[in-house]
């Protein structure tokens, strides 16, 4: 068996979800090749070559790969596919965009968004927005897979020296063209994709008091969320609501402040990697799922929290 991981990068640096993807691949087989298709992306190749889990780096350079247009990237992956048993990419908007095209041209069924590898052909994936987990077995010869990055740790990034092999670029079909990319304008990251989310509930008592949350969000580069109760009470607009239709968040760190833990809210955030609850009611249901619970008055705890964060010299972004 050998595995082809399609790396996500910005032509200069590798994006971290690719590391999670490589680690996931290592649970299937250790013969891992990583494809870096981009425009003048030598530095990315160097980075990937240093990853100990990687056996070989495939480098294909062309202006047509600069913006990862699915139409342009697909033929290259399909061309390489014959040598591999698995083709893997992260299940973010990068991987989701091109992988089904690859699968369709190979006439195989894609396995989307896996969270666990049971065997090389046997995976677990969430369905119904995470309300059920399906264990599935693929009968296709080549398995096209996207993985949920937060379900796998990132692979270590130094110590390796995989060879870098050049691959000829495929011809661009010229049916699509990149115009522009606007990073999200808001100072804070989007709720759906933030690495850290801090949410306030009814316990915040006023929209004014959300500034306590905002200050910490700025410090942690976190998105600001809210419970339905806080939204209903008019403390914050409803686009911040977690746990409503389609608003499921899976950050690395979720901090629930003054949220008792209504089940709709829990459903919207329970897949987060680490959950922190700050609430003065020690019996609040939120504590039953929190990794770290702090039973305290939030109006005292939040300023202290900010102070402690200010003392730290580094904070992961």
């Amino acid at each position: 068996m050998s595995i082809l991981v399609i790396a996500e990068h910005n032509n200069i640096n590798l994006k971290t979800f690719s590391l999670n993807t490589i680690n996931c691949a290592s649970k299937i087989d250790l013969d891992i090749h990583v494809l870096i298709a981009g425009n003048k992306c030598e530095n990315v190749c160097k980075e990937v070559s240093a990853i100990p889990l990687v056996k070989k780096v495939l480098h294909s350079d062309s202006t047509s790969y600069e913006n990862y247009l699915a139409e342009n990237l697909t033929p290259l992956v399909v061309k390489l596919a014959g040598k591999y048993t698995h083709i893997i990419a992260p299940a973010n908007t990068f991987g989701k965009n091109f992988m089904p095209r690859v699968a369709a041209l190979l006439d195989v069924s894609q396995i989307s968004d896996i969270i666990k590898v049971n065997a090389p052909d046997n995976f677990v994936r969430p369905i119904y927005a995470g309300n059920a987990f399906a264990t599935v077995k693929s009968t296709d010869k080549i398995k096209c897979i996207t993985i949920r990055p937060t379900s796998f740790d990132p692979a270590p990034i130094s110590g390796g020296s995989a060879p870098i092999e050049k691959v000829d670029a495929t011809e661009a079909p010229n049916i699509s063209k990149f115009i522009k990319r606007e990073e999200t304008k808001s100072e804070r990251p989007e709720l759906g994709t933030a690495r850290v989310v801090i949410s306030g509930g009814r316990g915040m008592q006023s929209s004014e008091n959300f500034k306590l949350i905002n200050a910490i969000a700025d410090k942690l580069n976190a998105a600001v969320g809210a419970s339905r109760a806080a939204v209903d009470a008019g403390y914050i607009s409803n686009d911040h609501q977690v746990g409503q239709t389609g608003k499921v968040v899976v950050p690395d760190l979720y901090i629930a402040v003054g949220i008792s833990g209504a089940i709709q809210h829990l459903a919207g955030m329970k897949e987060s990697k680490i959950i922190v609850a700050i609430n003065k009611d020690g019996e609040a249901p939120i504590f039953s799922i929190a990794d770290y619970g702090l039973e305290a008055d939030l109006f005292e705890a939040l300023p202290q929290f900010l102070e402690e964060l200010n003392k730290l010299n580094t904070i992961q972004k």
Binding site: P100, A104, G130, N131, T135, R181, E182, V196
Partner: protein
């Protein structure tokens, strides 16, 4: 310009999903079914293009058992002109769905195919991309804004970093995000009229494509219940744990 819109019948998003006792699937007997939410956005966008004079005809298509027709009726009630129902029993993987849609596209010859970005049941997020690859067409996935020009569409996509704008040649596939528009409600007279509009019915098996499933669903279970962790005594301890134990800040 002609537009094809694909809609899927799924368990209503408000229904609490329950896994069957025997672990084979989720419970779907007598639960409320609805059109997959982003498919409503797809229909709305198609109808808007028609109202703006850019499209002449909107055809809605669904694949599934007899009752899946409800989704096509709903599309007809908000402005689609014609309906197609491909009758099929049981679950069909996106690969099979895309093959069926390809057949229909070859017959109907639309300039744009719209559909939701993802179905909220199997959460695959594949069909649109697969169809466009099979047809050799470009795709605009996760669309939150579109602008149809003469021979191209400009699509603004919701990507992880923010918004990305691309221009794709027609014919093309566009998969719609919930933010694309606000689907309208059907009016009563239009619902009545939609009940009388004919829906062309074809049988999936007769289309001559291989729609056999490649993935076996071995088991469906409830997600493991999360267990509570520890209580910390104060803020300093909390920050210390987050930094040194959980390593998330």
């Amino acid at each position: 310009m002609k537009i094809l819109v694909a809609v899927k019948r799924v368990i209503d998003y408000n229904v609490q999903i329950r896994v069957k006792e025997d672990g084979t699937d989720v419970q779907s007997d007598n639960v409320k079914m609805s059109t997959n939410p982003p498919d409503d956005n797809a229909v709305e966008e198609a109808v808007k293009l028609k109202e703006a004079g850019k499209a002449k005809e909107v055809v809605a298509i669904t694949i599934g058992q007899e009752k899946a027709q409800e989704t096509v009726r709903k599309a007809l009630a908000v402005g689609a002109d014609k309906g197609i129902h491909i009758k099929a029993e049981g679950y069909i993987e996106p690969l099979g769905v895309a093959k069926i849609l390809k057949k229909v596209v070859e017959k109907e010859k639309p300039d744009i195919v719209f559909m939701g970005k993802q179905a909220i049941d199997d959460d695959c997020n594949q069909t649109g991309q697969m169809l466009s690859a099979m047809l050799g067409w470009p795709q605009g996935t996760f669309a939150s804004k579109i602008e149809v020009k003469d021979k191209t569409i400009q699509v603004t996509r919701e990507v992880d970093e923010g918004l990305e704008t691309i221009e794709i040649n027609l014919p093309a596939i566009v998969t719609c995000d919930l933010r694309l528009n606000e689907p309208r409600y059907a009016s009563l007279p239009n619902i009545m009229k939609a009940k009388k509009k004919p829906i062309e019915q074809l049988i999936a098996k007769d289309l001559g494509v291989d729609i056999s499933n490649r993935i076996q669903q071995l088991k469906v279970e409830e997600p493991p219940k999360r267990k509570g962790g520890i209580k910390v005594a104060n803020v300093a301890e909390l920050v210390n744990k987050l930094k040194n134990e959980a390593k998330v800040i």
